[in-house]
């Protein structure tokens, strides 16, 4: 291999790396939570949820607080969705809550996440 050919190849490789020097997002990312992660809300929140920048099949969505798992209603099921929101079935006691979710992204990646919020009287 001549020096010129080698330099051309190396320049091409460097150009290729620079062209893609931003993260390539193959699957949906978590864009936000309701209530916001780490926030404090007064009284029972009207809804609890997450949104993504692409369709995601949520397969598990648990809200756990001082009294254990919170009963939820109004969930959209396992259909692919960008907005997943549920309502607490009853009032929520004051305390710290953690939301844990799992889902299947379009590219087959299994994803999971969690966030926390605090309920005040």
């Amino acid at each position: 291999m001549t020096m010129i050919t080698r330099n051309t190849l190396l320049s091409g490789l460097a150009a290729l790396l620079l062209a893609f020097a931003t993260p390539l997002l193959a699957h949906e990312g978590e864009m936000g939570q309701v209530p916001d992660d780490g926030s404090t809300v007064e009284g029972t929140p009207e809804e609890i949820g997450i949104h993504f920048d692409g369709a995601m099949r949520i397969t598990q969505f648990d809200v756990v607080g001082p009294q254990g798992r919170v009963s939820l209603e109004g969930g959209p099921g396992n259909d692919p969705t960008e907005e997943y929101h549920v309502r607490p079935a009853g009032s929520m006691e004051a305390g710290d809550y953690e939301v844990r979710w799992r889902g299947l992204a379009r590219d087959g990646h299994m994803m999971s996440g969690s966030f926390r919020f605090t309920v005040e009287d």
Partner: protein, 301 residues
């Protein structure tokens, strides 16, 4: 440290998924690599040829069993990590319905076809190799169905991963037949010739493996900094360290131990075998690290 936080979230179910993934990767690469090794070295002595083919076939069946085990493990994970979700028809259907299902079908059909290399094809020369090469292609396609390499630009990312995997498969599958060859008395001409030729082929193969892996890593991470700051990057660096150790051993084999074997030094076969065995242990560690890397972390941070 980002990698420690990532490990803190791992439960028993995820450990089972990581082990199944590592086993599947090992089996599928060994099976595909056995075909490539046989093709690259058609003049292998009988025992080494049989060792390569038999290992490939056993590895294919192990990989088939593990990819089938991965299906309920994935369904169970999606349901919160429990046995009832693992056998819930709706959850199993959801997993099969998407990219994971395509991966499963491609992997199983590829691994069945790969075993055509075991056929005695004296009457139909080339048919066994043709079928098994088709199997290798299907297995490689299975690997690019799921994950970040399935994103855009898909042809570039998938192509790089396939190149990386083909080189890794060839290397992994060569270890056992080379270990057998190194057991021959030192200076055995057939064994020495193949060991020396392997050293030359391996230079190209390892170059491809490292180049494709490095470009892929930078493309997926979006630069060099995330390799140090994210859990994915840190696990990847650990993998790179293990691969660097492997390369050192490979260099030792090529430039010290194989020449000693060819010169007929009496301790050479034992030292070469020991070095290849350590390579095998390191390969297992690399595969384990890859399963952790792809199973519990993501280049997105």
């Amino acid at each position: 440290m980002a990698w420690l936080s990532a490990l803190a979230g791992v439960d028993a179910w995820m450990v089972a998924m990581i082990l199944a993934a590592a086993g599947f990767h090992a089996g599928a690469l060994l099976a595909a690599g056995a075909v490539l090794f046989r093709l690259a070295f058609p003049d292998l002595p009988d025992p080494a040829r049989r060792a390569a083919s038999r290992t490939g076939a056993i590895a294919a069946w192990v990989a088939i069993a593990l990819v089938l085990v991965q299906w309920p493990l994935q369904a169970g994970y999606l349901g919160g990590g429990n046995v009832s979700a693992a056998f819930d028809p709706a959850m199993l259907g959801m997993v099969f319905d998407g990219a994971q299902g395509t991966r499963l079908v491609l992997a199983v059909s590829g691994l069945l076809l790969v075993q055509a290399i075991l056929l005695d094809v004296r009457r139909l020369p080339g048919v066994g190799y043709g079928l098994s090469l088709g199997g290798v292609l299907l297995v490689m396609l299975a690997f690019v169905q799921v994950g970040h390499t399935a994103g855009e630009p898909r042809v570039l990312l998938g192509g790089l991963l396939i190149l990386h995997l083909l080189a890794a498969a060839f290397w992994i599958a060569s270890l056992w037949p080379l270990y057998r060859l190194a057991g021959q008395p030192a200076a055995d001409p057939a064994a020495a010739r193949i060991l020396e030729r392997f050293g030359r082929v391996a230079l190209l193969v390892v170059g491809l493996l490292v180049l494709a892996g490095a470009v892929l890593a930078v493309l997926l991470a979006g630069g060099v900094t995330p390799l140090f700051t994210t859990a994915w990057g840190q696990f990847l660096l650990a993998k790179v360290l293990l691969v660097a150790l492997l390369l050192l051993l490979a260099a030792l084999n090529k430039w010290r131990l194989v020449p000693a074997f060819s010169r007929g030094e009496t301790t050479a076969p034992r030292r070469l075998r020991r070095s290849i065995a350590v390579e095998g242990v390191l390969v297992a560690a690399v595969l384990g690290m890859t399963a952790i890397l792809t199973g519990i972390t993501s280049p997105n941070g």
